[in-house]
Symmetry: C2
């Protein structure tokens, strides 16, 4: 027992320290995300943007699928689609093969909204990263990959609350 408390083995202090550092970094990342969202919040609400993001990454979908990915009730998704169709950000048409399903997809304008936010977010993070000492940069890449590896693949629905994905 080198530096443990009670019977917690070595390295536990590291875990605590790293967890705190992780939470701090999270706060910053969420702030970046929020700022990137602010740019389009006059055009779409946050729930609407989530819907656009899902369509952007998953491609066209029928209503129940979309609702499932967003983890909302189909009726909620339907009415959101209604509004987005009115805003000309998504397209809603009858499915070619099935007479009951509908096909929902992004318009060019809708894709532009998503791209705008995505680009801004990436730019902002890159700007922060560029301000880091180059030595730390290389270390961080490997370490972050190990972290993501340890975390596994998060379910899609859980990754969208802020329009990530």
């Amino acid at each position: 027992m080198i530096e443990g408390s009670a019977d917690a083995g070595p390295g536990v202090g590291d875990v605590d320290e790293l967890t705190s550092a992780m939470l701090t970094a999270s706060r910053l990342l969420v702030a970046v995300a929020a700022r990137s969202l602010a740019a389009v919040e006059d055009a779409v609400t946050l729930p609407q943007f989530r819907l656009l993001v899902v369509l952007s990454s998953q491609g066209p979908a029928k209503l129940v699928t979309l609702a499932g990915l967003l983890d909302v009730n189909p009726s909620t998704a339907l009415r959101m689609v209604d509004r987005l169709v009115a805003s000309k950000l998504v397209d809603r048409r009858a499915s070619p093969d099935s007479g009951r399903e509908i096909r929902i997809e992004l318009t060019a304008a809708g894709r532009a909204v998503v791209d705008q936010v995505t680009t801004r977010r990436r730019t902002d993070i890159a700007a922060i990263v560029a301000r880091m000492p180059p030595g730390e940069r290389r270390a961080l890449v490997a370490a972050l990959r190990a972290f993501a590896e340890a975390g596994g693949e998060p379910p899609v629905s859980a990754a969208v609350p802020l329009g990530w994905e």
Copy 2:
């Protein structure tokens, strides 16, 4: 100009790579946050939880202050407080000194809700961190600090969309 921007000198690839790694890690962290929130979403909505988090970190506040921290209209904050008072998660009383201000603060139950989510989130992140190779752990701590340093202090209101803080 040692490694300037003009023709993108050495090190730019690093930035791109690290930005991607950062975004991936973000997705995971947001997923963790969403899962920790799920535990209490029967008791409070996400906006309500945000309000509790702000009260938890800033202490008792009057209405306009609270609304400012949440970045919502005072009328919105007022009605949310109304509902949270009905749920016995916050307390609303007249301010001792000023005859027009009101003093809003957490009840024990409200504090418990925040603690529950905070604890769960920290536990989940610690679990992931514990699965990382110890070598990567030590490297990640330093690198994350450099990242947070480069990012500066995010404004409070921007850090709360998912109940961080």
